[in-house]
């Protein structure tokens, strides 16, 4: 039997989320290494915008996984707030230490 019966890739919300996540993964791979790696052999420290963008993309991706895959969007309010508080803390800690430390 076809394991994907009754699943429409074009209409399924989870499939949309997955496509978005894969697209952002490719984007951040391209930003942080990938095509740039050969060009970027100078290893300059001047990657501020790129690095910040990579972290922000990762936080957004995690929010999508929590919201749709872990089904937190349908969870009680305390859990939604806890998860968002965690995401915000990670963003502040990592970005804050990157920018100010």
């Amino acid at each position: 039997m076809n394991p994907f019966r009754n699943i429409s890739f074009l209409q399924d919300r989870l499939a949309h989320v997955w496509a978005f996540l894969v697209a952002t993964t490719v984007a951040s791979w391209w930003l942080g290494g990938g095509a740039h790696r050969v060009l970027d052999s100078g290893l300059t420290q001047d990657r501020f915008a790129t690095t910040s963008l990579i972290i922000i993309i990762a936080i957004i991706k995690m929010r999508f996984v929590i919201w749709h895959f872990m089904e937190v969007k349908e969870c009680p309010r305390w859990l939604r707030w806890t998860c968002d508080a965690w995401l915000l803390s990670v963003a502040i800690i990592v970005l804050g230490l990157y920018v100010f430390a």
Binding site: M1, P3, R5, N6, I7, L14, A15, V17, W18, L21, V22, T25, V26, S28, W29, L31, G32, G33, G34, R37, D40, L43, Q45, R47, T51, I54, I55, I57, A58, I59, K61, M62, V65, I66, H68, F69, M70, E71, E74, C75, P76, R77, L79, T82, W86, S89, V90, I93, V94, L97, Y98, A101
Partner: protein, 210 residues
């Protein structure tokens, strides 16, 4: 709505009243906790433990950014990105599995779960190859603080994936005998598996790309 009558009490470990299981009209049908409350306790705590690791990493990286960048450039970003997509797909398959199980399509659910688990195994194999390449390159190549973080983060994540595969196997067996519609264990397993995915997203960004 087929899943709103599931009883969670037996497995939670918490004595939380479950309004949907009492037989009366659901108070707020839109908010429910998938899986066992104890699993959420674990997942949230685990995320905070990893946050401590990430904070230490960001702090140390800020102290010697050049050394960390040099270490990062020796990693294989392509393998890392491929592994990310593999885990994302695995998460999607497990989420679909849960959807199918709630519609009582247990055969389809098992097929999807099997494919999700297989993606997880592929992830571990690719990670092992990556480690082999790094270790084979010799000690000077992998010394320094960055590589301690690299091996600790990927190693702990590897451990989490292995534990997740064990949980998915148990969930598969649960789906095989699932006739009562009690999906609490399968839901918990899915929550755990998505957490593994979640952690890899941030580890990939921190170690490989940042």
């Amino acid at each position: 709505m087929s899943h709103s009558s599931i009883t969670y009490d037996t497995d939670t470990g918490f004595t939380e009243p479950n309004p949907t299981a009492s037989g009366s009209a659901p108070v707020r049908p839109n908010t429910r906790l998938p899986g066992q409350a104890a699993m959420w306790f674990f997942v949230l705590g685990d995320l905070w433990i990893f946050t401590c690791y990430f904070a230490c990493y960001a702090f140390d990286r800020a102290r010697e950014p050049m050394a960390f960048l040099q270490g990062q450039h020796t990693l294989n970003q392509d393998m890392g990105a491929f592994n990310t997509i593999l885990l994302l797909s695995s998460s999607l398959l497990v989420a679909w599995c849960l959807k199918a199980a709630r519609k009582q399509e247990y055969t389809q659910a098992r097929q999807l779960l099997m494919m999700g688990g297989a993606s997880g195994v592929c992830f571990l194999l690719i990670k092992a190859v990556e480690w082999y390449i790094k270790i084979d390159a010799g000690l000077p190549e992998i010394s320094g603080q960055f590589f301690i973080y690299y091996f600790m983060f990927t190693g702990l994540h590897f451990l989490h994936v292995s534990l997740g595969l064990a949980i998915l196997t148990l969930a598969y067996l649960e789906l095989k005998k699932a006739t009562s519609g009690n999906l609490a264990f399968v839901e918990s397993g899915a929550v755990y598996w998505h957490m593994v995915d979640l952690l890899w997203i941030i580890i990939f960004a921190l170690l490989y790309l940042m």
